[in-house]
């Protein structure tokens, strides 16, 4: 959820300054996307999500290839029964640790025990208001974003009356959660714009510290409240607290010493001007109006490849984070369809980056039949080195009503080997699971949706974030609580593929700190690849049948017999790869079979 005005389409042309600006940037790593290829997704008019009954607790629900298996209702002290969509109480983002889900929000955080995912039980509800409450976890530490002026150092709910006050807190709180029933705030690091979101950064070469990238998007506070904060609006004012992110260094053994160690000007151009990226405005006739790049909304780090993808209001950017205190921008893209660059997700091998556009700030209905399928959508880019190339868009392929806030929002990969599949939240548009392996033809394979909160007016609600974690999909519902969903097999996703996804497990999962997915050697992974080869005719049907038989035979053998059979199959697959129409997938299958032989 982003504080943004809701600006519908308006036809515009290049302004002189915009053109001049872009020319200057052309040499400074800005890739201009002239519109992505393959925006061929059609809105479905024959879809069970259309016409669902409205209601808070009794809205109609519909799912395809997904099943709602568990639900935890929002606790009473985390809601305003008089005003269901009350901004002060919205549920927000999720973080995961062991059998626990941390659900952040504008009023504090809730902790759910999910040892039985069919029945999430509330373990802790900790009132600590200040919005928007994004959580991250590292060992026994919980990091928590605060941006509103009502935020208090002591977590009090009464707000802060004085305009300049030592009681006010806007920034990142650090809790010790060793005793889950009594979270203890061990540090509270103040920042000028507060923290709308933040991202945990772990440097593999620095085990003594972790880092927090702070994205502040709201109003800059007064310099008399926090030294150094400045509200300069002019693009040439180098003292301004705009046009930067803040980096907090957290000594793991002494988190109380956490502090801001750098506020890099990551939008600067090569000449050092701090406002070096998109200055705001439209991109030409019939294009979207894109917000000025003076903030990141969210940054997703992918330490396995030393990169972060920043969704930074007017641009999507790539940061080299090998030196986490000094991230270096290596690429920046625009998309004339985007209003507000909101979030980013890498595919597992890092060759694609999916950015989401939160057109309307999450508070507006932007999935109406009249809203363009490329607006308020995901834009998928190919990435190679520091080059990003527009490859396609994905948007929830069914229209929603005027009473449903709906736009692309948070999600994560589903670890199906060999495919890029994501579960994504679309606010009151529900949950959409889609495949973007071929980014020009991203396709939905499963969904879950409820009717509007109210049939007469728009009450803020719906799914904030939807994440796969250790075998299930968890969805944070803004008003209704926590949902747990299970994937069901279909012609687009086999049971083997789902079972292979379930093999990938994490002790901790922070969605914006994207982990590398690695599959253990397993027959089910091999069969997942084989199912894909059959579905997409990547190999002849004679060969796929033979491979299935060989796998079944090998599995029944044990010891040296099994190893010999697997090695023989792997060698045969190497040969298959030379003639198969999808050699890459056959090679992946061969590699899996070879790993099985070594087990």
């Amino acid at each position: 959820m982003t504080p943004r005005s809701t600006v519908p389409p308006s036809p515009t042309r290049w302004s002189i300054i915009r053109l001049r600006h872009l020319l200057v940037l052309a040499g400074s790593l800005l890739a201009v996307t002239a519109g992505a290829q393959g925006d061929s997704v059609a809105i479905s008019h024959d879809d069970p999500r259309i016409g669902l009954r409205a209601g808070y607790q009794d809205a109609a629900e519909v799912a395809r290839n997904l099943e709602l298996v568990g639900h935890g209702a929002r606790p009473q002290n985390f809601g305003n029964a008089q005003n269901l969509g009350d901004f002060a109480f919205l549920n927000g983002d999720l973080a995961f640790k062991g059998d626990l889900v941390f659900q952040g929000g504008f009023n504090g955080f809730q902790v759910w025990d999910i040892s039985n995912p069919k029945s999430p039980t509330l373990r802790t509800s900790f009132v600590c208001p200040g919005g928007q409450g994004d959580p991250s976890i590292y060992k026994n530490l919980l990091f928590f974003s605060v941006e509103e002026t009502r935020g208090r150092l002591d977590c009090g709910a009464q707000g802060v009356t004085d305009t300049v006050s030592a009681e006010r807190f806007r920034g990142v709180r650090i809790f010790d959660i060793s005793d889950l029933d009594h979270p203890k705030q061990v540090a509270a690091v103040q920042t000028c714009r507060g923290s709308h979101t933040h991202t945990l950064v772990i440097d593999p070469n620095d085990p003594d510290n972790v880092y927090i990238y702070v994205s502040g998007t709201s109003v800059v506070r007064s310099g008399s409240e926090l030294a150094g904060c400045a509200r300069g609006a002019s693009l040439s004012d180098t003292t301004t607290s705009l046009f930067r992110i803040d980096i907090i260094k957290v000594p793991v053994a002494a988190p109380q010493n956490a502090r801001v160690v750098n506020s890099p000007r990551i939008f600067a151009d090569s000449a050092g001007a701090i406002a070096g990226l998109w200055l705001g405005g439209a991109h030409g006739a019939g294009t979207q109006t894109t917000t000025q790049t003076n903030m990141c909304h969210d940054i997703t780090v992918y330490s396995a490849i030393g990169l972060a993808a920043g969704a930074c209001s007017g641009n999507g950017i790539l940061l080299d984070i090998h030196d986490p205190v000094h991230p270096k921008r290596i690429a920046a893209v625009i998309d004339p369809n985007f209003a507000y660059w909101h979030s980013a997700t890498f595919n597992n091998d890092g060759t694609k980056v999916l950015f989401s556009d939160e057109w309307g700030g999450g508070m507006a209905p932007r999935c109406r039949p009249t809203d363009k399928i490329t607006w308020g959508a995901d834009a998928i880019f190919y990435r190679a080195g520091d080059k990003m190339t527009a490859a396609g868009h994905y948007k929830l392929p069914v229209a929603q009503t005027d009473q449903e806030n709906c736009v692309a929002h948070n999600g994560s990969l589903i670890p199906v080997p060999g495919r890029d599949i994501m579960a994504q939240a679309w606010y009151q548009g529900g949950v959409s699971v889609f495949d973007f392996t071929d980014p020009a033809h991203a396709t939905e394979i499963a969904f879950f949706d409820r009717g509007p909160m109210d049939s007469t007016k728009l009450l803020l609600g719906g799914d904030w974030g939807t994440y796969w974690y250790n075998g299930h999909i968890y969805a944070s519902e803004i008003d209704r609580g926590l949902d747990v969903l299970d994937l069901k097999p279909s012609d687009q996703l086999s049971q083997n593929e789902i079972d292979a996804a379930k093999l990938v497990r994490f002790d901790v999962f922070n969605p914006q700190n994207q982990p590398k997915l690695v599959w253990p050697a397993s027959y089910v992974v091999a069969r997942a690849y084989l199912d894909q080869l059959v579905r997409d005719k990547g190999i002849s049907s004679d060969r796929s049948s033979a491979i299935a038989r060989d796998l079944a035979r090998a599995e029944k053998l044990k010891g040296t017999g099994e190893r010999a059979a697997l090695t023989q199959l792997a060698n045969r697959l190497d040969q298959d790869a030379r003639t198969a129409s999808d050699p890459t997938r056959v090679q992946s299958l061969a590699a899996t079979v070879r790993e099985l032989a070594k087990r």
């Binding site: 504080p3 943004r4 600006v7 290049w14 305003n80 008089q82 009502r150």
Partner: protein, 210 residues
């Protein structure tokens, strides 16, 4: 953590429980300054609409026209939001029908009743005379004056936000904070855009103050 809550006299606490949920009662409420901010900003935005309504008849520049359309759309949305906020809280919604009537404002009069806001002019707002002056211009002259006036107008909105945040107890309700923050962010960015546009328009040797 809830020391102050415990300090609330029981009678008051019971009264609060009667009107709100146990959880909601503790949240900071909106203040008179919040209400004034919303009421004032409606008039402020409405004048922006009166200004953008002048555009079609006075300039053929597509960038100014587009700018005007964008301002119009966003300010209309925000006016609707502010009115709803006031309505939900049973506060007076200032009449701005006359201001809404762009065509009338543009074509007929600068001395219509709806413009008689000079006694309560918000920061950055044009006086009736200044608005009339803008309406008398055309072409290049209009483009420059429009941008100058709108930059000043937007800067006024920033002053209003700063003044709200500088008022004891204000912007503590989450929705007010969100809106004020949004106005601040949007108008800042739009000022930067308009300033650049104005610089590009200015004849050689002439630069704006920014």
């Amino acid at each position: 953590m809830n020391e102050s809550f415990r300090a609330i006299p029981i009678v008051l606490a019971l009264a609060l429980i009667a009107t709100a949920t146990a959880s909601a009662q503790n949240a900071p409420r909106y203040t008179a300054a919040d209400v004034r901010f919303m009421q004032g900003m409606i008039g402020h935005h409405a004048q922006a609409l009166a200004m953008t309504a002048l555009i079609p008849a006075r300039t053929s520049r597509q960038d100014i026209r587009s700018l005007g359309q964008r301002i119009e759309v966003s300010q209309k949305d925000e006016i609707a939001m502010m009115k709803q906020w006031l309505k939900d809280r049973h506060r007076q919604v200032p009449p701005n029908d006359a201001m809404h009537d762009h065509q009338a404002a543009a074509d007929h009069s600068m001395n219509m009743p709806g413009m008689a806001m000079s006694d309560t002019l918000m920061p950055g707002m044009l006086t009736t005379e200044q608005l009339a002056e803008l309406a008398r211009t055309n072409g290049d002259e209009f483009d420059r004056l429009f941008l100058k006036d709108m930059i000043r107008h937007h800067e006024g909105a920033l002053v209003m936000v700063a003044s709200l945040l500088g008022t004891t107890g204000s912007a503590q309700e989450a929705e007010v904070f969100r809106f004020a923050s949004e106005v601040d962010s949007d108008q800042r960015a739009e000022i930067a855009r308009m300033t650049a546009l104005l610089d590009a328009l200015a004849p050689t040797g002439v630069t704006t103050h920014r």
